[in-house]
Structure formats: C-alpha cells, structure tokens
C-alpha cells in the first residue's frame, strides 16, 4: 500500500471510528471495514458491499463480475443493508439455498428490500430457478438489557 492509499485508508478508519462513538449511527465505512475483518478471519464468508445492495434498491445497473469471482469458493454471503437509515442483514447459505434476515427492530424486511435482495442473489448466482427459504431471525435486547445500560 503506497502512502496515498495508506492515508486514504487511515481517513476511512477515522470516519468509521467517528460513527462508532456512542449515539452515532454507523456509516458505510464502519460496517464495511468491520465486516471485511470478519471475512479475513473466516475464509468461507463473502461480504457483499452495502453499496451493491443500495444499487439494486435504486435499480441502478451494477456490474457483478468481480463479486461473482469472489464468491466462487464461499459458503455464506453476508449482505448488509441500509434502508431508510436502518441497518439490517441478510445471510445466504449457498449450499442450502437459505436466506435469513436479521433485524434488531423486530420487523420483517420491507418489500423493497426483500425484492432487491432476491434480484441481487438471482443476478449474482446467475439462476432464476433456485428456491429461497426465508427465515426471520429476530434480535431484540430491549427486554434483557441491564436496567442501567446506556
């Protein structure tokens, strides 16, 4: 990494860190850098940049060739989604063709988000015939958070 690239990367890190301060909403840099660390640790996982998903949400043409090459030997795709300033996550198990949705607000995915995720997976896997099994995983700590927690 040359000096300029290193400086840009460092500034992205700073941008990410600022959004990790208490009360701040996480930005794209924080989510992407954190999930990239996860993908470094687990070679079976491929993280799809949230901007790719955003492109499908906005129905913009998106080139998936590089991403398609990256998923060749992966078992799990993680698709972070930011929709209306709310983060949620799709996890797709390639072998089992199972799609799971994780949302801390205890909601099902909005129809537009679900549609975008289906179209992205269909385009990425070059298949319109796969069957998606969908499970809604609910994350909620409101009842179990310690009373004095911030």
């Amino acid at each position: 990494m040359d000096d300029e690239a290193e400086a840009i990367f460092a500034l992205r890190q700073l941008n990410a860190i600022r959004s990790l301060e208490p009360g701040e909403c996480l930005n794209d840099d924080a989510v992407e850098l954190a999930l990239c660390r996860l993908a470094e640790q687990n070679q079976n996982i491929c993280v799809v940049d949230s901007l790719v998903m955003k492109g499908f949400l906005e129905r913009r043409p998106t080139n998936l060739n590089r991403l398609r090459a990256r998923i060749a030997d992966k078992t799990t795709l993680l698709l972070p989604v930011c929709h209306e300033e709310h983060w949620s996550l799709y996890a797709y198990e390639i072998e089992w063709k199972m799609l799971q949705y994780y949302d801390s607000s205890r909601r099902s995915a909005p129809a537009a988000v679900e549609d975008a995720a289906f179209r992205l997976l269909a385009a990425l896997l070059k298949s319109n015939t796969f069957t998606l099994r969908r499970e809604i995983a609910i994350i909620n700590i409101s009842e179990v958070r310690p009373p004095n927690a911030p």
Binding site: A10, Q13, P22, E24
Partner: protein
C-alpha cells in the same frame, strides 16, 4: 411487539449478528444481554483499527502502543500520523478492555507494581501457550508497557490536538 429502543444501535447489532453467524453460533437474546453497546462499539473500533497479530494476541495490544510511542512523532507524515493516532487510540482502548486502565495508575502505583514485578519468576519450562500468555501478561516487561501506554495516551492527546481531531474521542480517555 416492542422495538429496539435506540435505533442508532442497529448497525452495532447487525455487525454483532454477523460475527456470531460466522462462528456458527445460533443467535439468541442472551448473546446481546451481556454486551453494553458502548463496549461493543469499542470492540468494533479496535477490530477495525488494529493489525491482525494484535487481534489474535490480546497482550500485544499494549506492546503495539509502546512500539508506536517509539516512533519519532514530529517526523511522521500527516497521513501516517493519522494512522498512528488511530492505532494508538485503539491500542489504549484494548488495553483498558484487558483490565489495564493506564490513566488511573499513579506513578507511585506503577513503581510499586514494578518492584513487585521484578521479583516475578520466569516462564516455567513446559508451560502451555495459554499459561505462557498469562505469565507474559503478568511479567515485568508488561508493566513497562503499561507505563508506555500511559505515555502513549498523553502523546496521543497532543497528536490529536495537532491534527485537529480533538472532537474525535472514545470514552476510554475519559474514564
């Protein structure tokens, strides 16, 4: 059905869920009950900022901070200085998470622990990796590193001030 009280934490939960999924851990509310949001945010920050060896070996976080301190700060180019500042900050945060609050140790306390540490026995022969890590964590050089982390934090405050990043603070600095 109650919703998550703080919408700003949705990203933190999402990342936490991703890490649990990657570890093949079935998700449940108990995975989130013990984690205060601020702690989770600090852990994510450390994961983002620190190089891989430090993430694998917790005690290396403090050594990383000490190594960074040895760099001649005025000669560091600004781009590298930003990296230096962020990595030092994360190292200090991780040191705190590992039970060392360098900012609260007085010089007398450090001296006392230093004296005690000098009498600390060497790593036993045949010790396991885990035992060796624990031993190193308690060994004399670690206390030297603790002192350097303390110095690193002071230098870091100065550096952040120079770079006009004083508004960028993580609560460890205030604890």
């Amino acid at each position: 059905m109650p919703k998550q009280p703080n919408v700003y934490d949705c990203g933190v939960f999402m990342i936490r869920a991703a890490f649990l999924l990657a570890a093949d851990t079935p998700l449940g509310p108990h995975h989130f009950s013990e984690i205060l949001i601020r702690h989770a945010r600090r852990c994510i920050a450390a994961d983002i900022l620190l190089p891989p060896p430090c993430r694998l070996q917790p005690w290396m976080y403090t050594i990383e901070a000490a190594n960074l301190l040895l760099l001649p700060l005025p000669e560091v180019p600004q781009g590298n200085a930003v990296a230096l500042a962020t990595r030092s900050l994360a190292a200090a945060v991780k040191a705190f998470d590992n039970g060392i609050d360098a900012t609260k140790l007085s010089f007398e306390e450090l001296s006392a622990t230093w004296d005690a540490a000098e009498r600390y026995p060497p790593v036993p022969q045949g010790a396991s990796v885990a035992d060796t890590e624990v031993h190193l964590w308690r060994a004399p050089k670690v206390y030297e590193v603790v002192w350097r982390v303390h110095e690193a934090q002071r230098q870091l405050r100065r550096l952040l001030g120079l770079l006009d990043y004083e508004n960028m603070k993580i609560d460890t600095m205030d604890r």
